[in-house]
Subunit: 342 residues, 2 copies
DNA sequence: CAATCGCTTGGTAGCGCTGTCAATATCAGT
DNA sequence: ACTGATATTGACAGCGCTACCAAGCGATTG
């Protein structure tokens, strides 16, 4: 014979319903769609739930309703400051809502990403936030067939899977180079690490700007697949200097590299910005307080995360955003490290 | 009459069992305790599951078994690099295991922490990783009565709730000051931001070391409740210099402050380390490649996260660690910024 | 050869909630 | 007063899996 699994002290929806003098299903409705109840019952269920300290069993809810209140978030790195800002935005937006987050780290691998995606979708998430626009063909296909709001973050591009929020890395890099050109710099080097798709697009922007100015020279480009770091910034800058000793500026694909390049300049007694301009990317906090202060491209990471989460929630609650693709833009922060006028 | 909710294409455990020619319960056992099956059935269920691409329904599992395979993680900040390293360790340790992570951000508030703790525990997590040893009395009581492995991370101290992994912030700060004293520095300032309990203990370590050396002077201490940043490091250092112009060294409670102090020194043309020594805390990556390189106290954050997760898993699998409290230690990284011998 | 033991396997029921539909109550309009 | 429409509420069954118990079976023992 089977067990008698009665959990004595446990507060279930049935207890709440009994105390409130309604049926369990009415109590259930109170939590999902309070407007459907009459004011009287609503108040009765509410106070009964409070009195008993009722906490819904999420597993039971998920099983019965065939969906969860979990939003999956796929990001390529847990270390990169850029993503911690995005994450903070997402967590802040969801704080106090019924939704929770399931986070996974793809480690910049789209194969990992696909694996994790399958894992997530098998659990029927309420929504999905995924980094970038370069997924595997299979990942894309899976996401297109799945029935939940999806937001691609960090960049914008054509043909969103569903929704999209970010900015153009191409344009941002191009604007940074335009700033350097306007300041009179001509031999502008490029430093790139962990050449992920977004960094590639920054390189494209650099190339485009330099070509437009008839200043493009492949010797000015130094890249590596190694993950970024301040130390690496110094190393790459030294490599660049060896290849092209006559450079008068560097554009670094992120601020860590820029800081490393600055330290390397100090080590070599190269004056910044007189002999060498430095421009970074992301505008991390320290860029504004270094000596000299470092120019960078500010991106709206926190807002990106926050809005992405809001877009998912709004869609889930039937108020789908009018515009599925949001370009948050960027701004070139012109500071001491690139302040030379001819 | 009620619905007929037959989901046609869906692969359930029953389908796997049927294909394997066993009962559903035997198939179920295959996933939770494969050793209990005979080799033949085990292989049959395995291949059937693979063939059908079976993915277990976690909600059903959680509901039936009255427990989840989720490990709750409570950290005070998503921005702080220190925690991203810890998190990376946790995620790495759990990658490929059956367990997943539920992350929450307490924002350095023990009241928030208590709220989130209640929220977590209501869903019966498999385990819990919580930051620090300063919880509210209620939080502690709740955790003591709950039946799941709990690891307190980031520091060690007396009376663990369950398990504990970290290091002594008091000793680490004291060792940093001992290093500065050994180098011949005497008027050693203290810079502290976001005075959370661990930072407080670093202050205690500083005070103890300075008092032992008969060099303690409250004028040398500058602290603030403001969250840390590089910019703040510069500001606090300026404040310190105003209060105590004769200082010859600063101990900063973290590396951001140290970097800010370094930049401020450059701005003021104060030579580091000749006129001013700087020592940070955490040994973030950039400390080793700044100019001059910055001394710091290295802590094992990744290992802390990784081991904490392993401790939880081992306990869940019946192999409880012999030693519930693990001190991961620290090491003082002596670099250029504090290299003056008398 | 019967009794006992341990290992493997299966049957039954139920975890706590919600989708579906039906029933009832309420109300406006004629 | 009666009809039809709308707002509220309830009954029932079942979401997919696992806990509990029992049964089957071969091996061991005296």
């Amino acid at each position: 014979m089977a067990r008698k699994r009665i959990t004595p002290g446990k507060i279930r929806l049935a207890e709440v319903a009994k105390l409130a003098g309604v049926s369990p299903i009415t109590a259930s409705r109170f939590f999902r769609n309070p407007e459907a109840l009459s004011a009287g019952k609503r108040a009765r269920v509410d106070s009964a739930a409070k009195e008993l300290g009722y906490v819904p069993n999420l597993a039971a809810r998920a099983l019965a309703s065939q969906r969860t209140e979990v939003i999956g978030v796929l990001i390529p790195s847990l270390t990169n400051n850029v993503f911690s800002d995005v994450l903070r935005g997402i967590y802040d937006a969801l704080d106090g809502s019924r939704y929770s987050i399931q986070l996974a780290n793809t480690r910049y691998s789209i194969l990992q990403e696909e694996r994790l995606l399958r894992l997530f979708l098998a659990q029927k998430p309420a929504g999905l936030i995924i980094t970038g626009i370069n997924q595997t063909a299979d990942s894309r296909r899976i996401m297109e067939t799945v029935d939940c709001p999806i937001v691609q973050i960090m960049e914008v591009g054509p043909s969103p899977i569903d929704m999209m929020i970010g900015f153009s890395h191409f344009d941002a890099a191009k604007a940074a180079i335009a700033h350097l050109l306007a300041q009179g710099y001509r031999r502008i080097g490029f430093l790139g690490a962990r050449m992920d798709p977004r960094v590639q697009r920054r390189l494209d922007g650099y190339r485009s700007a330099m070509t437009d100015a008839a200043l493009f020279d492949p010797q000015l480009i130094v890249t590596t697949a190694i993950p970024t770091s301040v130390t690496l910034g110094g190393t790459l800058f030294a490599d660049l200097l060896a290849k092209a000793p006559d450079i008068d500026a560097v554009f670094c694909v992120n601020d860590d590299l820029a800081l490393g390049a600055l330290f390397e300049c100090k080590r070599r007694h190269v004056a910044v910005p007189e002999q060498m301009a430095i421009v970074g990317f992301n505008d991390l906090e320290f860029m504004a307080s270094s000596e000299p202060t470092l120019s960078s491209v500010r991106t709206n990471r926190y807002e990106m995360g926050r809005n992405a989460a809001v877009m998912v929630i709004e869609t889930l609650e039937g108020r789908r955003p009018a515009e599925p693709v949001v370009d948050l833009g960027f701004s070139v922060m012109e500071r001491q490290s690139s302040a030379r006028r001819n």
